[in-house]
């Protein structure tokens, strides 16, 4: 006769089986849609470029070599692919700066919304999501209209007599930054808000009561408690920012390329698919390393709460 413990164990095993069975379709789609293409990209990065794009099925490490190195066309010597390094660095720098900037703008915004009354909160959240209704390209062109030499900012500055000639903002790293902050801000605000909404504001009062100034309350109480939201928001902004394509191509004007533009170049005019594939995997690796470092450094023991 089966004991109660055995019956319970059987039920548990059945439960586990059912769980796998039920999640099988989802797992299959994830595998086919995410892992499949990645494997193809990985394989392509070790092949030889075809003359009109595409690849020739011949093993080659040239794609990977040219990620970091370039062969001189005259004497065949190898040197650092400084152009690539510059683009890597710019992408990383701009993505980090955009993350920090969205955090700086998003934190007070989320705090403001979280401290409103329940009814008005919904209105503010709704307003935050409105830009999502418009196509990214159109929004980016809207930013272009604002910051170009004949745009509102420069026109206003000239009319007010603050500057004599327009400030060149378009086609600079600054323009890309502005565009990315504008586009990705909601991705920072929403997870921050989700964290702050759960924040017990009585703890804030307790902080004030115990002689903490506003800055100290922010640093010692609010920030540690909403840290999960900060991490989530930063990840949500950093990942699309480092792979941004539309924003740098419209606002960076071709000469200020970012990763995605470089990759696109290899698959388009460059006709070097293996290099494009190798570059894609490089971005992924950089993102993963950056995230690992970030999450490890920010999720101290203090984040485990609630």
């Amino acid at each position: 006769m089966a004991t109660a413990a055995e019956i319970e164990k059987q039920a548990e095993q059945r439960e586990i089986r059912n769980r796998w069975f039920l999640s099988a379709p989802a797992l299959l789609i994830i595998f086919l849609a995410a892992s499949g293409p990645l494997v193809i990209v990985l394989i392509y990065s070790f092949l030889t470029p075809g003359p009109y794009g595409d690849v020739v099925w011949k093993f080659s490490t040239d794609g990977w070599m040219s990620v970091f190195l370039e062969r001189d066309i005259f004497d065949d010597t190898l040197s650092f692919a400084s152009a690539h390094i510059t683009i890597f660095w710019r992408s990383l720098k701009l993505a980090l700066m955009a993350t920090v900037a969205t955090l700086i703008f998003g934190f007070p915004t989320a705090y403001f919304i979280a401290t409103r009354s329940e009814r008005t909160r919904d209105i503010w959240l709704f307003l935050i999501t409105i830009p999502f209704w418009t196509n990214l390209l159109i929004r980016t062109f809207a930013v272009l209209q604002v910051i170009r030499n004949e745009g509102i900012i420069n026109t206003a500055l000239i009319n007010l007599g603050i500057v004599n000639q327009p400030i060149q903002m378009l086609y600079t790293d600054f323009a890309i930054m502005v565009g990315m902050v504008y586009v990705y801000l909601p991705l920072m605000v929403l997870p921050l808000y989700a964290s702050m909404e759960k924040l017990d504001f009585r703890l804030v009062e307790a902080g004030y009561d115990l002689y903490a100034s506003r800055w100290q309350v922010l640093r010692r109480i609010i920030f540690p408690l909403v840290r999960p939201g900060v991490i989530a928001g930063s990840i949500l902004v950093f990942i699309p920012a480092i792979g941004a394509y539309v924003t740098p191509s419209v606002l960076g004007g071709g000469k200020n390329m970012m990763f995605a533009n470089l990759i696109e170049l290899q698959f388009g005019q460059g006709r070097n698919w293996p290099l494009g594939a190798a570059l894609s995997i490089t971005v992924m690796a950089i993102v993963m390393v950056a995230l690992l470092v970030y999450v490890r450094n920010t999720s101290g023991s203090e984040t485990r709460h609630g």
């Binding site: 017990d200 009585r202 703890l203 009062e205 307790a206 902080g207 004030y208 009561d209 115990l210 002689y211 903490a212 100034s213 100290q216 010692r220 109480i221 540690p224 408690l225 203090e302 984040t303 709460h305 609630g306």
Partner: protein, 364 residues
């Protein structure tokens, strides 16, 4: 309210607090004045929504008065932010920081005051000892029980040695037995630290057992301030008498009035002596309150009479509910002596004797 001499820790002068604006304005506090003496265990007692927590929050600095002054040892603190007031709060929810250990919680205030590490550590150790939590210093606040959290909240608020400690219904989340323990604990802490405690509660028993003085509040006003004995034996208004303990109300006519003493005639025709609440305006009629244990039911003739409706046995005492001849109800509480037989039964005709020092005339 008159005050006997002695140093005042807190003086609230003409404080009004209005929430909302225009038509939707609500006065949470309606011109409240009260003085709280140094080293006193002072209780704000009242039902929810009476303004007691609002008054506490004004003293703490979480809200600012719409009108009036709040003096702390002679200095107006009403415009100061909470972190500039030498006043600490024990919150109803405790509001312990979940991302810190017990010791870090207790040391937080001192740290914010910029005290040196060695001093903070010494003081935290001292506080842990005071609330008997030495062994749990390294625990997270989520890993300790409700009663322990309560102690940490107390230790945290006491650590910076505030001039006044504010306690916002700190015992309401605890079960009955723990609450009794903490009541004694709080009295001990107040005695040992010598800090002025302002305690907010809606529990009349808690207020009576713990306080040096009580302010009874209702609808944004302080109705009466006095020692627990004053409040219980000499309630000034119907609300106070009704809110604290059980009470009998009788209508009466004033015969003679001499300062705080009066002679009144009850509906039954009996004349009794009564004390008079301060601020009483004589206009012939009056309401008299008599506590159930201050009257005595007898088999013969009393000041008033009626028929026993129910007899309820409570262990320590017995409540006899009597329907008076004029239709009102009256309760008499009799202490149970061992071996005493129940003196009355339903339907018995009884007289009620009201002692000379049992009746109080209300001012409203």
């Amino acid at each position: 309210m008159p005050d006997t001499p002695g140093k005042n820790a807190i003086e609230v002068r003409g404080v009004r607090k209005v929430f909302g604006a225009g038509e939707a304005q609500v006065a949470a506090l309606d011109t409240v004045s009260v003085s709280i003496r140094e080293n006193e265990f002072f209780t704000l007692l009242g039902p929810s929504g009476c303004g007691k927590t609002t008054l506490l929050r004004l003293i703490a600095g979480f809200d600012f008065p719409s009108e009036g002054e709040i003096m702390l040892y002679g200095q107006d603190i009403a415009p100061l932010p909470p972190f500039k007031r030498p006043v600490n709060t024990v919150f109803q929810s405790y509001a312990l920081f979940p991302h810190m250990t017990v010791a870090q919680n207790i040391g937080f205030g001192l740290e914010m005051l910029g005290k040196p590490r060695a001093e903070i550590d010494a003081r935290v150790a001292e506080m842990l000892k005071l609330v008997r939590m030495e062994k749990l210093a390294k625990r997270r606040t989520s890993q300790i029980s409700g009663g322990q959290q309560q102690r940490v909240a107390l230790a945290r608020a006491l650590a910076p040695q505030p001039k006044v400690l504010l306690l916002d219904e700190p015992l309401s989340a605890l079960d009955y037995k723990l609450r009794k323990e903490m009541q004694i604990e709080l009295k001990r802490l107040q005695h040992e630290t010598g800090i002025t405690f302002i305690f907010v509660t809606h529990d009349q028993e808690e207020a009576l057992t713990m306080s040096d003085r009580i302010a009874v509040m209702s609808a944004g006003r302080i109705l009466q301030v006095g020692s627990p004995r004053d409040i219980y034996d000499r309630p000034a208004e119907r609300f106070v008498a009704d809110f604290i303990g059980e009470t009998n109300f009788l209508d009466a006519k004033i015969d003679s009035l001499d300062g705080a003493k009066a002679k009144v005639t009850l509906k039954s025709g009996a004349t009794i002596a009564a004390t008079v609440a301060e601020g009483f305006k004589p206009d012939g009629d009056a309401t008299v309150v008599i506590r159930p244990e201050h009257a005595k039911a007898v088999k013969g003739q009393g000041d008033i009479s009626g028929i026993v409706e129910t007899v309820v046995y409570f262990g320590t005492d017995t409540h006899v509910h009597i329907r008076l001849d004029d239709g009102e109800t009256f309760t008499v509480r009799q202490q149970n002596a061992r071996g005493a037989v129940a003196a009355f039964e339903r339907g018995d005709r009884v007289g009620i004797v009201i002692g000379d020092d049992a009746a109080q005339i209300l001012r409203d």
